[in-house]
């Protein structure tokens, strides 16, 4: 699965963006990267920041291991 990876600067600029009931909030992947799913690229709620979202690096998603 492809996800979008943010640098720290991109994270600082985009994390917490909100439009109505739609919020953008980066998650951590298994490599401790800030990532977000690709659905934000086509969701109209995020059209205002679409250019910045398209600048995020596309990487293969690495799940976070579950510690029992």
């Amino acid at each position: 699965m492809i996800v979008l990876k943010a640098t720290q600067a991109q994270y600082d600029a985009l994390d917490g963006y909100q439009n109505g009931n739609n919020l953008l909030k980066f998650a951590k992947d298994g490599n401790d990267n800030w990532i977000v799913g690709t659905a934000v690229l086509t969701n109209s709620a995020f059209s205002e920041i679409n250019t910045q979202l398209n600048n995020l690096e596309q990487i293969e998603y690495v799940p976070v291991p579950i510690q029992e």
Binding site: L23, L24, K25, A39, A45, P63
Partner: protein, 268 residues
């Protein structure tokens, strides 16, 4: 003449959108926000749903209740019917990272970052669940696509809603029970608990927590979240049609709740 006009002008005859008082509050709130409301046929079905929940004695036990399966669009789907009815400060859920909405079905996660934030802090906002009351909690959802993990809490690794329950036809009700011991506590057999293949305790229709110490000792569980589990480690790919959070429910109440939600979903 002018007096009569002034009096009549002040009498605002507001036509109710629904004869069901609490559901009417939901519709009125939606319209006030500029959100679309369901079709007339679906309004009738949702009136029936909320009526069935009241008849079952479940409605008053809810802290939150939301129906994602609607033809009114995602804004209406995110309304918390119970907190609107209670006139709580927060009345809507928040979509985080764009879960996919399908009309008349609900929301689906992407397995990497998308989830639904209920904005219900269960340790602070919930009247039926909070610090010291966790042992009476019950919460659940209806889904059309299952996943290992489907719902959880922002500050809590355990107490997630999983697909470990057997034979519940897509509706789960995970309840915290007042475990005093461990997996093999002596009273287990007397209460006819069994453990399924994933180590989840089953008691009739209720999926009980596998961790006897976690739920009732946590001081801050954070907010209830759907499609985000184990404190944000797991993001679900489940597709969810409805979600609720309540006081502990009896077996009959669980059955009636499941029946009401299933009847609604299979009728739309």
């Amino acid at each position: 003449m002018s007096t009569i006009f002034n009096i009549s002008n002040k009498i605002k005859l507001q036509t109710a959108l629904s004869g069901e008082q609490d559901y009417n509050a939901v519709l009125s709130y939606a319209q006030a926000q500029g959100y679309a409301i369901p079709s007339s046929s679906q309004i009738t079905l949702q009136e029936t749903l909320i009526g069935d929940l009241k008849t079952a004695g479940v409605w008053d036990k809810f802290d939150t209740f939301a129906v994602f399966a609607t033809d009114a669009g995602q804004d209406f789907a995110l309304l918390d019917w119970k907190r609107i009815s209670d006139d709580a400060a927060t009345k809507e859920y928040t979509l985080v990272n764009a879960p996919t909405f399908t009309s008349n079905v609900g929301f689906q996660g992407d397995g990497s970052s998308a989830y639904i934030e209920t904005n219900l802090n269960v340790s602070a906002d919930a009247s039926n669940l909070g610090v010291g009351r966790e042992i009476n909690a019950a919460y659940g959802l209806r889904h059309t696509i299952s996943a290992t993990y489907m719902a959880g809490f922002s500050n809590k690794q355990r107490s997630n809603i999983t697909n470990g329950s057997n034979g519940n036809a897509g509706v789960y009700n995970q309840a915290a029970m007042n475990y005093q011991g461990t997996w093999s506590r002596p009273s287990e057999s007397s209460k006819t608990f069994t453990r399924d293949s994933q180590g989840i305790y089953q008691y009739n229709d209720v999926e009980a927590l596998p961790n006897p110490t976690g739920f009732d000792t946590q001081t801050d569980m954070g907010t209830a979240q759907i499609l985000r589990c184990i404190q944000g480690i797991i993001y679900s790919t489940a597709q969810i049609n409805a979600y609720w959070y309540s006081q502990y429910l009896t077996q009959q109440e669980v059955f009636d709740l499941h029946t009401a939600v299933n009847n609604y979903y299979t009728s739309i």
